[in-house]
């Protein structure tokens, strides 16, 4: 990468832990033998803020965090295809509020599970290859986006089962898309990143009528006029290797590659020429031993902190919005040695879950301060 010019250097957080909060392991589950790739809390419905879902192998499991470090298994789903390997899971809901668990993986089929009836609601077939991440639009939780190995990002309506938009084509990703995220307030905007080392910001403003149409569509979903969005509004080359996770932090973007750090940057678009612009790298959050790809971080509901695991089973909790960044805590346990693929922070950040390559789930709870 080019040397950052003087005066535009990012503010880099210090790895000296501030010990602002202390976390302790309160539970550890062995879900199975196959690696767990995703864990996620339900932030969609406040009833279920303590409910989370994990995926690994051909299995989707729903848990609940209870007092005293107790975890209860609520539901478990198994794909009949033993070769299925789920990579990602997200919570969504129907227009009437029915909670859905949406999962996808190597088969490229998105499974929408109706958690209130414990039944499969819909299966979305369309992606040409494995699905690497699914995210839910927080403002309209019937909308999900999926990032796939087939180099596309697709927008779906879980309520009607329609593939509304495909973000791919002439200006699309040139390799697998690994991560995608909805802008928290601008409903038209998503950011995606992947193996072509770029982060792309897409706008669906021009196509919003199709999104609206998807809610009232009564005909067969296959007859819906799915549109291609071929050009992103912004393209950033912040990293020089796979970009495997990106999240919006307000109007900024947090993204990580395999360079042992999370980067916070501001996309500065040029109004006249869409598709061009510069990325102003504001802050960096170092994460040692985090140099393998497909490690994702997570934030609490209010984006105060982010937790990320590393190759050696350690977790780093960063205060996101302070400058310079403060390392809230560094979590480690003698028995936690396996790479942590994803973490999940609870609503207030007091609980951190991690799911590991060896199929274990760890629960860490903040030690209450007096």
């Amino acid at each position: 990468m080019a040397k950052t010019p003087i005066g535009l250097e990012p503010v880099v957080g210090s790895l000296a832990s501030s010990k602002k909060r202390e976390y302790r392991v309160t539970n550890r589950l062995q879900e199975g033998k196959r690696p767990l790739y995703a864990v996620v809390f339900n932030f969609i419905d406040s009833r279920y803020f303590n409910v989370f879902a994990t995926v690994g192998g051909n299995r989707v499991t729903v848990y609940q965090c209870l007092e005293g470090g107790v975890i209860a298994v609520l539901q478990s789903y198994v794909d009949e295809d033993k070769d299925e390997s789920f990579y990602t899971v997200s919570w969504a809901c129907n227009v009437d509020g029915t909670p859905f668990v949406v999962a996808g993986g190597i088969n490229g089929i998105i499974r929408v599970i109706d958690a209130s009836n414990e039944k499969i609601h819909k299966s979305f077939v369309g992606h040409g290859d494995s699905i690497n991440e699914i995210r839910t639009q927080p403002l309209k939780p019937s909308l999900i986006v999926s990032a796939s190995k087939d180099e596309s990002v697709r927008l779906w309506n879980v309520h009607s089962g329609i593939c509304i938009l495909i973000f791919a084509g002439a200006g699309g990703h040139r390799n697998e898309v690994l991560s995608v995220d909805f802008h928290p307030s601008d409903i038209h905007r998503i950011a995606s990143c992947g193996m072509d080392n770029t982060v792309k910001i897409w706008s669906m403003k021009e196509f919003w009528t199709y999104v609206e149409k998807s809610f009232t569509w009564t005909d067969l979903p296959s007859k819906f006029p799915t549109k291609y969005v071929q050009f992103p509004v912004f393209l950033a080359s912040v990293h020089s290797n796979y970009v495997d996770c990106n999240r919006w932090l307000g109007d900024f973007i947090l993204s990580k590659s395999v360079d042992n750090e999370i980067v916070l940057w501001e996309p500065k678009m040029k109004e006249q020429s869409p598709g061009e612009g510069t990325a102003d790298i504001l802050q960096k959050y170092p994460v040692p031993e985090c140099d393998i790809w497909f490690i994702k971080f997570s934030c609490d509901f209010h984006y105060n902190a982010a937790a990320i695991g590393n190759r050696e089973g350690k977790i780093f909790v960063w205060e996101l919005q302070s400058s310079p960044p403060v390392l809230i805590a560094r979590l480690s346990h003698a028995q936690s040695k396996s790479p942590i693929r994803q973490t999940a922070m609870s609503f207030d950040g007091s609980t951190i879950l991690s799911c590991c390559e060896d199929g274990t789930i760890w629960r860490w709870d903040a030690v209450p301060t007096n």
Binding site: I6, G7, L8, E9, V11, V12, R28, L29, Q30, E31, G32, F43, I44, S46, R47, F49, V51, V60, T61, V62, Q64, V70, I71, A72, V73, L74, Q75, S76, Y77, D79, E80, C93, G97, P99, G108, R111, A115, S116, N117, E118, V125, G128, D129, P138, D150, E151, G169, A170, Q230, Y242, L249, G250, F252, L282, F301, H302, Y303, Q321, S323, P324
Partner: protein, 953 residues
């Protein structure tokens, strides 16, 4: 690096430190150490600023985000409450399990083992997990029924015609990282050559903060080499770079100060209307594809060579509406009313009717009256008229020539044309002239007395007669001159001037009919008359007229002027059409007419000047009627600054690695050669690019104008070009041209057809009997009956996109497959294999990637291009390979482009899957594409041969 953020010492960047002036005055020679110290302190300041900035931005963002998340929290609470209110919570299994788990935790405080056994008995409720018991066994899972997954594919975009790869799609020179599917480990896949390219990065722009350091340091310690060096060191750049940047900074600073005031005004201007038409037309020149006749052609690209057509387009001629006023502001109406108001007194009724818009009848009647001497001349005048109308077609300027001679119509002897059409055509011009007269009358009336006006109108008559005489014979020139100038010289000098001026281009126009180099006599005459003209120029510089013109000019915006000029090129002097089609809503017909009159005069003036200056030097050139036109064209052509002619510089070098590619032939040599239009200026000779390249000349070959730098050169260039334009295009007689076919019966479906035999589609522009029928499809509407009876060319299917419906489905063999919807017969055209056109070099790089995925959509097209259907293509890209196929592929030349058509090798029934032989090179074919008997016989087959591709048909 940790940020040094002490907000107290942060200073606004634009504000210099307090002691700067002192340091500068005290020390002119500073040591390197001091310089470094200064730079260091500045650096610290900048870093501090930066951290403050980041802090500020983050704080702003945090506040925004706070609002957002609390809104989201509200939403999530709403969901909860709405759910509880309108649904029976018991039916919600998730909620039920949640409650179960909670009650269980409260109710039972027992050991882990008990929990497990409990869960086995009642698997429908939740299970509490305390330690490391496999969750897998804790609850009975709900089965998700299997859904058949799709065969893998990469998202692709449908293309109905090939596209050339855009720059940003290239993988050459880019580092790509792949991961090993099995090991999950990332591998960097790039060779040394690519890494070398990556090394030299593009020059980085200077950041604002770097500029600041630069400026402040030099301000403090002055500009000297050690300063520059230490600066360069600290900014990681070369000293020269730093110096250059400093200079631009200084310049910018000055500019910014100077232009501050002017800017505001400039911004208020309407950018659209102020934009020059030429600037707007620039996109036409650069983006319009001359071959496909579309903008932004994705196949042939932008900035194509401009090839001027040999046949000059004739100005728009619309005989029907010539006489009808085009609207309430039509110049006809305005003229009529004006003339009736002012000039009616001195004119007799007949003249009036003559000049009125439907004066045809009157003219015909007056024709009978034509006197003896006039009758003698009639034949000639008719000739000249037809010639004149030709001249009009040839160039716009000839319109101004026609003008003066129709002043005759004001005289008792009207000029008549043989055909009605022409009368109609001229009546417009006639009115224009009478309008001019009317204008002048007005001026005169204002300026002088009524008495003078009367004598003036007399002079109009006499003056009008004389041009008639001299129009054909330049000998008459002097007589006329005498008669007009001597009689009323003082009174109506403006008029004389006027009529002269109009006569002058008239002569030009007449010579325009004669394409040969004029005799020396004519040149002399031209010279003489032009010098006369020059002498008399002062006379006709009428102040009032000029004023009027000036005001006219001002109210016309640049774009309007440009549009008007284009309009004249297209429609001639028909102000109705120009106003309606190009200046609709901007100018009325009357305004256009006025402007035209003014600019005509000016043009004529300019033209004359030009002639005088040019005649001496370039008497060889026939300075014919195109003069006025040149005035327009010179500007337009010159301003079209095209980008450099982008020729595809491609050097074929055999790369070490050849990816697997589909081919139509099993030979190793490149089957076809890419056609690029040649730019031969004369008939294609030995140096013809097409000939050297081994391709035929096509209808797109021809002369192109390169950017001319020199103004005069350009002018001369254009003169010669306009004269010999017809020679400059690759003519139909070009020996290197493909002649097309003359097939009458065979429907161009066999090798008897030369087009078919040469792997070309018939071209309606080239072949004699192959035309595109329009209308009902049976060929009755557009096809003239004499051109063969019901002859329908069957060799234009790619051009006409007459393809079969192809369906995409799960292949019976592997992955995706293409299926045919309807049955077809043998050799039927099924569809085109479209894709991105990429270079062979690019194809090698991409091939590496594709080979890893064991799928290839590369198809060798010709010596320059490979088709890649990986991300862009059509359904036929999914047709599978088979050693015993039912289809075959063929590269066909269609209108200068190579395209791949897929044809039926045998009869194919509806719903059958399509296969064709990919013809991979035997040693590179993947295992699944190898013929069982392959190895031995193939190698002999692959022996190099120099001939062209062998057809498979």
């Amino acid at each position: 690096m940790a940020a040094k953020s002490s907000p107290s010492d942060s200073v606004d960047r634009s504000e210099p430190p307090n002691d700067s002036s002192m340091t500068q005055t005290e020390e002119n020679t500073v040591t390197v150490k001091e310089v470094l110290l200064i730079i260091d302190s500045l650096k610290k300041q900048v870093t501090a600023d930066r951290s403050v900035y980041v802090k500020k931005r983050l704080e702003e963002n945090r506040q925004n985000l706070g609002g957002i998340t609390s809104h989201l929290y509200k939403l999530s609470n709403e969901r909860r409450s709405s759910w509880i209110s309108d649904t029976d919570s018991a039916s919600d299994l998730l909620t039920k399990r949640q409650k179960d788990a909670l009650s269980m935790q409260n109710g039972f405080d027992i050991s882990d083992g008990d929990k497990d056994s409990y869960s086995y008995q009642e698997p429908s409720t939740a299970v509490l997990m305390g330690s490391s018991i496999p969750v897998k066994n804790a609850v009975r899972p709900v089965k998700l029924t299997e859904v058949k997954k799709l065969p893998p594919y990469t998202t692709w975009i449908f293309l109905d015609r090939n596209q050339r790869m855009t720059e940003d799609q290239s993988v050459v020179g880019r580092r790509r990282i792949y991961y090993d599917q099995n090991g999950g480990e990332a591998l960097i896949c790039s060779d040394s050559e690519e890494e070398a390219i990556e090394e030299d990065e593009e020059k980085r722009d200077f950041a604002e903060s770097e500029d600041f350091i630069l400026r402040m340091t030099i301000k403090e310690v002055g500009l000297s080499d050690p300063v520059l060096e230490s600066l360069a060191q600290c900014l990681y750049r070369s000293p020269s770079e730093v110096k250059a940047r400093y200079e631009t900074l200084m310049k910018e600073g000055k500019d910014a100060g100077a232009s501050k005031n002017g800017d505001i005004e400039a911004q208020n201007w309407n950018s659209f209307l102020e934009k020059d038409l030429e600037a707007a037309l620039d996109s036409f020149d650069n983006l319009f594809c001359r071959r496909c006749l579309v903008f932004d052609c994705r196949l042939h690209g932008c900035s194509q060579d401009l090839i001027f057509p040999a046949d000059k387009q004739t100005p728009w001629n619309h005989p029907d509406e010539e006489n009808e006023p085009c609207g309430p502001h039509c110049y006809r109406l305005v003229l009529n009313s004006e003339r009736n108001g002012t000039v009616s007194t001195p004119m007799n009724p007949k003249e009036k009717s003559n000049s009125s818009s439907d004066g045809v009848g009157a003219q015909t009647s007056s024709r009978k009256k034509s006197s003896g001497p006039y009758a003698r001349r009639k034949v000639k005048s008719c000739q000249s008229e037809s010639a004149l109308s030709n001249a009009k077609n040839l160039s716009e300027s000839s319109d101004s020539e026609i003008g003066p001679r129709h002043e005759n119509s004001l005289s008792p002897i009207p000029q008549l044309s043989p055909s009605k059409n022409k009368i109609a055509g001229k009546s417009g011009i006639l009115k224009r002239n009478s309008k001019r007269v009317a204008e002048r009358v007005l001026i005169c009336m204002r300026k002088r007395q009524k008495k003078m006006a009367a004598s003036y109108s007399d002079s109009v008559v006499s003056g009008g007669v004389s041009p008639t005489d001299m129009k054909l014979r330049s000998n008459a020139w002097k007589e006329n001159e005498d008669s007009t100038s001597s009689s009323q010289k003082n009174v109506k000098s403006p008029n004389t001037g006027r009529s002269r001026r109009k006569e002058w281009p008239l002569q030009e126009g007449e010579k325009g009919e004669v394409p040969e180099v004029p005799s020396s006599e004519t040149i002399n005459e031209l010279a003489r008359s032009s010098s006369n003209y020059g002498l008399r120029k002062e006379e006709f510089v009428d102040e009032n007229l000029c004023k009027q013109e000036l005001s006219d000019d001002k109210s016309w915006k640049a774009i309007e002027k440009g549009l008007f000029e284009k309009g004249v090129e297209i429609f001639g002097t028909n102000s109705c059409l120009i106003a309606r089609n190009l200046l609709n809503g901007l100018k009325t017909c009357w305004e256009v007419f006025q402007y035209m009159t003014c600019s005509d005069n000016k043009l004529a003036c300019h033209a004359a000047d030009g002639v005088i200056s040019l005649l001496e030097g370039y008497s060889k050139f026939d300075l014919n009627g195109t003069m006025g036109n040149n005035e327009v064209r010179r500007r337009s052509r010159f301003l079209r600054r095209r980008g450099r002619v982008r020729r595809l510089k491609y050097t074929w070098k055999s790369a070490a690695y050849h990816s697997i590619r589909k081919r139509i032939t099993e030979r190793k040599d490149q089957p076809c050669r890419q056609y690029n239009p040649c730019s031969c200026q004369t008939a294609c000779g030995k140096q013809c690019a097409c000939l050297l390249n081994g391709t035929c000349c096509e209808k797109y070959c021809g002369f192109m104008v390169n950017t001319c730098v020199d103004d005069i050169l350009m002018l001369i260039h254009l003169f010669s070009f306009l004269l010999f334009a017809h020679l400059y295009r690759c003519p139909k007689s070009c020996k290197n041209r493909f002649r097309g076919c003359h097939c009458a019966k065979s429907q161009c479906r066999s090798r008897q057809c030369p087009c078919f035999a040469a792997d070309r589609e018939c071209d309606p522009d080239v072949c004699r009997n192959c035309w595109v029928s329009c209308g009902d499809g049976t060929g009755t509407l557009g096809a003239p009956p004499q051109r063969g009876d019901n002859y329908e060319c069957r060799n234009m299917k790619l051009l006409l996109k007459q393809q079969q419906r192809v369906l995409l489905g799960r292949s019976d063999v592997s992955g995706w497959g293409a299926f045919l919807k309807n049955s077809v017969g043998k050799h039927e055209y099924l569809g085109e294999y479209t894709g991105e056109l990429i270079s062979h070099r690019e194809a090698d790089k991409r091939g590496k990637i594709y080979d890893r995925e064991n799928s290839s959509f590369l198809f060798n097209l010709n010596d320059q291009f490979v088709l890649d259907a990986y991300r862009k293509g059509d359904k036929l890209k999914f047709a599978n390979h088979s050693p015993d196929p039912n289809c075959y592929a063929k590269v066909i030349m269609v209108a200068g482009d190579h395209r791949v058509g897929i044809f039926a090798k045998e009869r194919i029934n509806a719903g059958e899957e399509l296969f064709y032989d990919y013809r991979y090179e035997p040693d590179r074919a993947p295992a699944w594409a190898r013929k069982p008997e392959a190895s031995g016989s193939k190698k002999e087959d692959g022996a190099p041969s120099s001939g062209r591709a062998k057809k498979l048909a």
